[in-house]
Structure formats: structure tokens, C-alpha cells
Symmetry: C2
Subunit: 463 residues, 2 copies
């Protein structure tokens, strides 16, 4: 194994410059899905990268939205053609604004001291090129691929993948695989390799209360009801000041974590002081008062967060208005077993039961959580190979605290999923000066090649 | 008396056109205090109007802000020089915007079908000219004034009279009087004469909670506390969903209404259906659930109104942010006996007691309420003379539901105050197409002349 790894390392090193040049070209396309720029040029370029390596592609665009790219590489003669790995990536990027905070041009990829700066470097163009480079490494060092490899590369991840579910449903046979590597990952502030085997879901709700047709002079507050007070009271009835969610049925269906998952979470790194300093927190963590471990809360507990609230006059000084309307945005992060539609129904029922029939609630965005079987051999494989390649601590959380369209992959394809990638703690995804470090890219290539080489054997255990 | 009234009516009618021309000139000055325009020209013109009638003036400007005009007319030979009435007016107006909603030019006063349109027509230039015209009526028909008459005409009412208190304190002997007519009033939708003998106070508070130095990704809601939730919980602790104010000490010191005031309030007109239709209310009045009379609430009960609340993301769609900060503006209308500083202290203590030491509260604007002695002969005089002049129902509330700088007059000058004026239900103060009707102006002149003529005798009852 060590000889094999050395071979991979050596070959990766020899083609690194060429790979980085390819990535720089890819990063030069301003593929901003929110602004619909450079979409087709980017698709063409991605297809050409797969073609060059001998893969086949299909550009799916029959169900609306930006095209979804399907890529396919067959197992080599010595490989196991009964096993297939799916890579999920996206070719779109966040808008680069605010431009004046960039030290380099966001779409003119620039390497400074071994770090490559460009919008999309870490999220998610770097990962795609690393994965394609791993295919080249295997082709050249092994004479072919150890298994079939598929790609799903979508173009609307940065705007919430609104059109992805129907593509996945219609083309589930095309994308069918045994396991999936999700788009992102990287190293934490202590250079530990951080991965997740699942993702939280979401029910993003909007609550609104309309009390009148017009804003009124606040002197009528003596007898006219107030939409802002109604909304405040409705919200206060949903979660108490001890941060306990009071909506009946909210916790319905939650799948309790396994012993292995609980154990894994106990081993996650978490530095409360560092978190407090990073954000400049003014109060203790809310888990403290409940005697809970913040890591358990992060992975296993659903949340209910006010993301925004607005009513009436919010400018400087005083305006004596009794507002006609009040709205709030409430983001519920869900754990496996919870259903966004059920959450919406429970909140609706709660409001009625509590006497807030005037407070309406709708769901802007609903996604179920997904958590792979933590004891699945694939999950172990990704973790173990990372340990060997990186020679670092590997931290694999049962699921992330964030959200993504992972559940639909689990539902339609029924496979274990691990997210890992070439980012670092300073990657600044979604922010100015996004970057990856070239050494992380290089190690990521080797990790993917090494993981793929071991995949058929690892998956045969369960077959 | 009827002969006297006829004389006043006749003479007023004969000088009406001349008076309206004077008013139109006055209205042509764009005296916008918020924009600091035409202040000195307007002051000069007001002084000239008083001079022309033989009054004396002092322009007070030693304490900052726009000048405060003091005007004085001595009692005539047949009058009672031991009695003095004070008129409170202001020469500044609201900005005219939005300009495109005006049917005429706001500073080009225009009469259409007996109605005079201009910014300031009803608030408050029309009232000053009506009062000066009443002086002329008395001078010409009676050969002199029945008592001394003083004017306080300030120039910052539309921006909250920030500089008035020190002027009133320093010059209290100058403005000293036995009774005061406040700036405004008029006819309601049923042509009833609507007056008030007091005003509610105000404690306009701003509550804010800062949870962190930066906005955070909402996935950290599992363990990071949320400034928006904290503020919502803090507000919900201050007033329950039955609209009961829960802040200890909030009701301290309230002077209970007298039997006469209670009786007066029972006779105020209040059409619940009309109110609901005017504003397009979606819920019943809050007084309904408490079995309270909305008129009593309007006059005798303090309020606590959320005028505005803001936190985090309030644009369209979803943004998954855990906001660093939340703020709310809360307007408490106070009744006589309540002290804004004490209200602030009570809210501060409440927040601490309830565990919200992270929610800060400050006062943007504090004014005490003022209510004249409802049984004072002056209050009766203004009411009775109005009945006789207008031959209409007169509705005199012990205090308005709104707020103004009346308390400082009561405090420094210790006099009864009634607010009455030449407006009508369509006057649109602060809005485009502000107006007064010429017949209301004419009646208002007669009312003031007739009231002044009877003042010495009425006030002698208490002397």
C-alpha cells in the first residue's frame, strides 16, 4: 500500500502544474448562477475536461434551470465494473461582491505563496479538478480505473438547487451508484481533516401578521391591536427564553443517533473559547444552561432561529407609528426523520391553538436531513484512507450543522455519502479572497485516487 | 349676548377677505423647520402682523434653535387688565413631500370652492391668523380688548420642540397668563367641534440587543444565542398577549380621572365600525377582550406600542443568517402622573429582573402628560362659547390620545389649557393637499372673539 501511495504522490506531483493551469482556466469563467453569467461556456469547458480524460458526458437540460452535467468513466480492465462511485459537484459560484475587498481579481486566478485565490477556488471548482486529476493519476499509474466513476455537476447549487430534484428523479438510473463523495470539505484551524457523512435539513419559514390596511398614528394603540406585538407574542410562544422549542410535534419522527454516532460526536473537536472569540459572542452558549454538549446540539438537535424580523419604522430617532404589518423569517435546521412539511403543519397548528390565527406561516425552502449509515464500509474507507494520505487527525461528523440537497440523493439513489474536499480554514467560501492551498489540492488528489483504488474491496464486504 | 355675537359675525364677515389675503401671504413662506428654510422671513412677517394690530413683540433667540416670538396686546380701557390669555402657536410647517400628490402648489395658497389649500393652512398658520383677526374684531367692535392677550409662537413644533423648554423656563414671567388656548382643533366627520383640555405624554424607548460582533451562519443556532430571540422574549415579557403591560411600576403615580372627566369621556363620540373601516382593521379592538370602553382607553390608559422592530435579513426569499443585533422602538403614551424617566427606569429594572441584562433600553423622547382641571371655569367657557357660536355639538376630551409639549406650559405657567382651532375632518395636516374651509376660519374668528369677551368674567369666579 505504501508503494502504491508513493506512486500516486509522485505522479500527482509531476502533473500538479498542468492541473493547476486547468483549474485556473476553469476559475476564469465568472459562472455566477445568481446573475446567470457564463453558464454555457462553463458547461462546455467542464465537458471538455471530462472528454480529454476519455470520459463520456451528457448535458441534461430538459427539465429547466441551468444544465446538469452527467459524466461517466468506465472501470478499467483490471477494475471492478460492478462498483460505481458518484461525485457530486457544482460548476456555479457565488457572486464576487464586495469587489473592493478582494486583493486580487476574483476571476483572474492568482497564486501567491502557494495559495490560489479566485472565486470558486474552494467552492467548488477546485474539488472537481482535483477529482478529475485523481482519475488521471489512476489511469496513468494503474492503467485504468478500479471502478466506474460518475459525476453529477450541477449549476444552481449557489441558488439552492431549485431544479435539481426532478433531474435526480428522472435520471436516477443514470446517476445510480454505490456511494457518493459530496462536494466539499477541508482542513480545520488545527489542520485536522474535517468531513461529514450527512447534512441537516431545513424548514425556512416566513411568519407574517397583517393588522390593518394602513400604518396608523401610534396614539390609537390604546384600542387598536398591533401586528408587531402579535408577531412577537406568536414567536415567543414557539420557543421560550430557555431556548426550548415549544411547538407540539416539532420533534416527531426524529431518528435517534446510534451509539457509534454518539461516540463519534464526543470525539469532534470543539473549542468554546475559540467560537466565542471568532464571533465576538456576548453571552454564553445556549447549550451551557441546558447542560448539553454543543457538539451534540450541532449534530443531533434541530434548531429554530430567527434570521430576520421587520415591522414599522426602523430608521433613526422616533416615529410614532402603529405598523400595519410584521414579518419574520425563521430557519429550522432539521435532523434525520423530521419532515419540513410536517414542521410547517405543526407551526400552523401551534399558532391556531395558541390563538394566533392572524399570524400566517409559509415555507420558503424545505429540505430533509440526510445521515449516512455511520458504520457503512464506505464511510470507514473515506476516513481511513484520509488518515493514511494526510497523516493527520480525521474528524468525521455524522452530519454537518449546515444544509444541502443531500437528502434527495439518499432518497433517489439510496447510497452512503461522505463530504470531503480540498479547502482549508481560510478558504473563505462565499466571501472575498476565496482560496485553496496548492498542497491541500495535491493531497486531495492523492486521497481521492487512493480511496478509489480501495473502493471495490471495501464495498465487497457488504455486497 | 346674541346682539354682541351678531356684531362679531358681521364685522368678521366684512374683513374676511382681507384676513384670508393676509393668511395667504403667511402661507406662501415655506417655513420648513426640518429643512431650515424661510425661518427669519417668516418671523419678520409674524412680527409685522402683530405690529399692525398695535401689539408689541420680542423675538427670543438667546437659547438656541429657531426664534420664539413673544407677542403682547394690553387690555383696553374697558377691559380687565388683571386677566391674561396666552395663545400657543407655531410658525413652522411640515415638509410638503410627496409633491406629486398635491393638486395645487403647497406654497402657492389656492382657494377652490371655499377651501384654502396650502402647507400649513390647518397646522398651524390658519389658527394664528384667525386669532389675530379675533383681536381686530374686538378692537373694532368693542373699542379695545377685554383682557391682556399674549402669544407664544415657536418655530420648531414640527421637529418636536427640542429647544422650547429652556425658553419657557427662562421667560416664564413673560409668558405668564391665566389660561391658554393651544394650537389646534377643528370639526370631526359629523361637524362636531372637537377640543381637548390636555394631552398624553410619551416615553419613546429604543430597545436593543447585541449578541455578537458579526452576523453568523444560522447553522450555529444550535449553540449560539440569538439577539432577535432575546429581544422577542424581552418584549413578550413586557406585555402579554392579552395586551396587559407587565412592567412593574409602569402605572405608578397615575392620577385617577375625576367623576367629571369620566362622565365627559362617556359622552365622547366613538364609532367602532367607522374606525375599523378607516384603518381596515383585521382584528377586533383590544379593548373588546378586556371589556373596556375604547374611549376610556384612549383618554385614561397608558399604552405600550411597538412602532418598529428590526433584525437580520428582511429582504425577499431566504437568507440563513443568525443576526448579531436586534432593535425595537417602543412608544409608551403616558397619562397624567406618569413620569417618562420613571418609565425608563422601570423598563430597565424589569429587563434586569427578567434576566435580560443583555437588552439595553434608552429613551429617545420623553414628555409628561398634561390634563387641565376639567371643571375649571376656563374649560367650561371655551366649550360653552363654542356651542353658542357654532350651534353644534361640542366634544371636549379631558386629554387627547396624542402628545405635544403641553406639560411644560402647565409646569412653568400653571394654567388651564384648551386646544381648539379652525381645522376640519379633511384638513390633512402633515399630508399633501392640507386645507382649511373659509367658513370654519370665519367661525373660528368669531369663537375666539366671543370667548375672549367673556373671559374676565368667567375667570373672576375662581379669582
Amino acid at each position: 500500500m505504501t508503494h502504491q501511495l508513493d506512486q500516486y504522490r509522485g505522479f500527482t506531483s509531476s502533473i500538479l502544474e498542468e492541473s493547476i493551469e486547468k483549474l485556473k482556466t476553469y476559475l476564469s469563467f465568472p459562472t455566477i448562477s445568481a446573475q446567470n453569467t457564463a453558464i454555457l461556456e462553463t458547461v462546455e469547458f467542464v465537458v471538455s475536461m471530462i472528454d480529454e480524460l476519455g470520459g463520456t458526458t451528457q448535458v441534461l437540460d430538459d427539465l429547466g434551470g441551468n444544465p446538469v452535467i452527467y459524466g461517466h468513466f468506465a472501470a478499467g480492465d483490471k477494475g471492478d465494473s460492478s462498483k460505481t462511485l458518484l461525485f457530486y459537484n457544482h460548476y456555479d459560484v457565488q457572486p464576487p461582491e464586495p469587489l473592493d475587498e478582494w486583493h486580487t481579481e476574483p476571476f483572474n486566478p492568482t497564486v501567491i505563496d502557494g495559495t490560489l485565490y479566485a472565486r470558486g477556488a474552494s467552492d467548488n471548482k477546485g474539488d472537481l479538478v482535483a477529482r478529475l486529476t485523481a482519475i488521471k493519476v489512476l489511469q496513468e499509474t494503474e492503467g485504468g480505473l478500479p471502478c466506474n466513476i460518475k459525476f453529477m455537476i450541477e449549476g444552481e447549487e449557489e441558488i439552492g438547487s431549485p431544479n435539481l430534484p426532478p433531474y435526480l428523479e428522472k435520471y436516477k438510473d443514470l446517476f445510480n451508484a454505490d456511494a457518493c463523495i459530496w462536494e466539499f470539505g477541508g482542513k480545520d484551524e488545527k489542520e485536522r481533516i474535517s468531513m461529514v457523512a450527512g447534512i441537516k435539513g431545513m424548514a425556512y419559514l416566513e411568519l407574517s401578521c397583517v393588522g390593518a390596511d394602513i400604518d396608523m398614528h401610534s396614539s390609537v394603540g390604546a384600542y387598536v391591536d398591533n401586528a408587531a406585538w402579535r408577531l412577537v407574542q406568536a414567536l415567543a410562544s414557539m420557543k421560550n427564553k430557555e431556548n426550548e422549542i415549544l411547538v407540539e410535534g416539532f420533534f416527531d419522527g426524529i431518528i435517534p443517533p446510534t451509539e457509534e454516532e454518539i461516540e463519534a460526536v464526543k470525539n469532534l473537536p470543539f473549542n468554546e473559547d475559540a467560537v466565542a472569540e471568532l464571533y465576538g459572542l456576548k453571552r454564553p452558549l445556549i447549550t451551557a444552561s441546558r447542560g448539553r454538549d454543543p457538539r451534540e446540539a450541532m449534530v443531533f438537535e434541530p434548531t429554530m432561529t430567527i434570521c430576520g424580523i421587520e415591522s414599522g419604522y426602523t430608521g433613526p430617532g422616533a416615529k410614532t407609528v402603529l405598523p400595519k404589518k410584521a414579518t419574520a423569517k425563521v430557519d429550522c435546521r432539521l435532523v434525520p426523520g423530521q419532515d419540513p412539511d410536517h414542521i410547517l403543519a405543526c407551526v400552523q397548528k401551534h399558532l391556531l391553538t395558541q390563538g394566533f390565527s392572524d399570524v400566517e406561516v409559509s415555507m420558503i425552502n424545505g429540505q430533509k436531513a440526510y445521515r449516512s449509515d455511520y458504520s457503512h464500509p464506505f464511510v470507514h474507507l473515506v476516513q481511513e484512507t484520509a488518515r493514511e494520505v494526510y497523516q493527520s487527525e480525521v474528524v468525521l461528523a455524522p452530519n454537518s450543522a449546515g444544509t444541502g440537497p443531500m437528502f434527495i440523493f439518499g432518497e433517489y439513489l439510496g447510497l452512503p455519502i461522505v463530504s470531503t474536499g480540498v479547502g482549508w480554514v481560510g478558504s473563505k467560501a462565499h466571501a472575498p479572497n476565496e482560496s485553496i492551498r496548492l498542497k491541500d489540492f495535491e493531497q486531495g488528489v492523492v486521497h481521492m485516487a487512493f480511496m478509489l483504488a480501495s473502493l471495490p474491496k471495501a464495498l465487497s464486504v457488504t455486497a
